[in-house]
Subunit: 127 residues, 4 copies
DNA sequence: GTGGTCTAGACCACA
DNA sequence: GTGGTCTAGACCACA
């Protein structure tokens, strides 16, 4: 696992797990890897994983059962909320990038429409 | 300067300069920093900068005049082309992210509309 | 500093600081000792103090300013809330003890009245 | 058994037995565990238990019959006296705590009344 | 100087 | 086996 040295590793683990839940790659009630397992997988200290899991627990995204493991919350609103958060971030990032390139709202709107109708055959457009 | 160890540094410098040109932060006919200057600024080897400038020259984005320096091409289509390339990439990244979160084209379209009408303040504030 | 080995040290530090705030021994906006200072004073590891301070921050009891220190919140309701929490605990503990000794509500009420009128000259009563 | 290292263990055993008698958990005329038994149970030296029993005997709380064992006194006033001692201590501790939190006699009186009327469930549930 | 993050590793509590 | 707490100590970021 490669981590961005600019941001705390434990926060990157938090974001990674949030993303997996938002993408339905980890379902509600599923068990996350144990702290030790994930620490080995990601090549970090178990304490760092615990910090990430603690943060997820504080945010009510997981529940921890001592001696049993850490599980994705069974809150029906949870996945939806995470999806929305990540969608808003993607939306934000996209608009910031487009604005920085000097595109107006109208132009962005037009490009989106074109993209949606023409599909993903954008290779021609790029070259 | 922090570089991603996964990709060649010279390519990252190329992308960075393309982005600056696309954003009008460096204008056509402007002189780029000398290879030595940029090498010091970015804390890389001058050969790495030279390789980046060579690549930009091969792509007709800059011209190097011996003894004078390296300049952004005065090709009127250049900036536009770079803008489009980066816009397409942003568009692609955005759609890939939204699709991975399970959003349909209709939902994406709706979110964009909402963002354009309601979220202008947010957006303006951030750009 | 002596800690009860049955409870986490960091929680005991949390309770201790809460008690000091409830007793007006530390006033709102006051700076707490630095993590290193308190660690030396209490003869524990700085990480343990940080954990306590983090918990207090999560409970909005203190605010931490990086590079400056940790301060008691300036929330006017805070001290009152802590006082009430500790008063309720004292009340609970007292009633549990009296009930375990077989005293009825009426008897407890009577003892309290007597205590309040006769003052604290309870030494005679004790022997 | 966990003992507070700050006070003599035998005194803590004395207090523990007094509390059990005050709570009717050990009745007058009942036989206490043998010194050896209790020593094993509490993981202390038999001499320590003997010292505790000796203290209880000096206070007329138990009587030891050679070759038969140690028995709670059949003095009708004994249990009552112990109850009162412990009640006074609880009362004292409670008032000291409430005073340290800045509560006046009137406020304490009011809280007790409220607790007795509203908090009966809570209290019952806990005892 | 002050808090924030991380590693390495020990030992405990719950199941 | 799984999470929880703690120590010792390093190094970084902010001011």
């Amino acid at each position: 696992m490669k981590f961005d040295p600019e941001r705390p590793i434990y926060m990157q683990i938090v974001d990674l797990i949030k993303k997996k839940i938002a993408r339905n790659e980890i379902l509600p009630m599923n068990k996350l890897p144990s702290q030790r397992e994930l620490a080995v997988l990601m090549n970090v200290n178990p304490n760092t994983v615990q910090r990430a899991y603690k943060e997820l627990e504080d945010e009510k995204i997981v529940v921890t059962l001592r001696g049993q493991g850490t599980f994705v919350s069974d809150n029906p609103a949870l996945v939806k909320k995470l999806k929305n958060e990540l969608a808003n971030k993607a939306l934000d990032d996209f608009f910031i990038e487009m604005k920085s390139l000097g595109f107006s709202n109208a132009e962005i709107s037009h490009l989106i429409s074109k993209f949606l109708t023409e599909g993903i055959d954008d290779n021609a457009a790029k070259s």
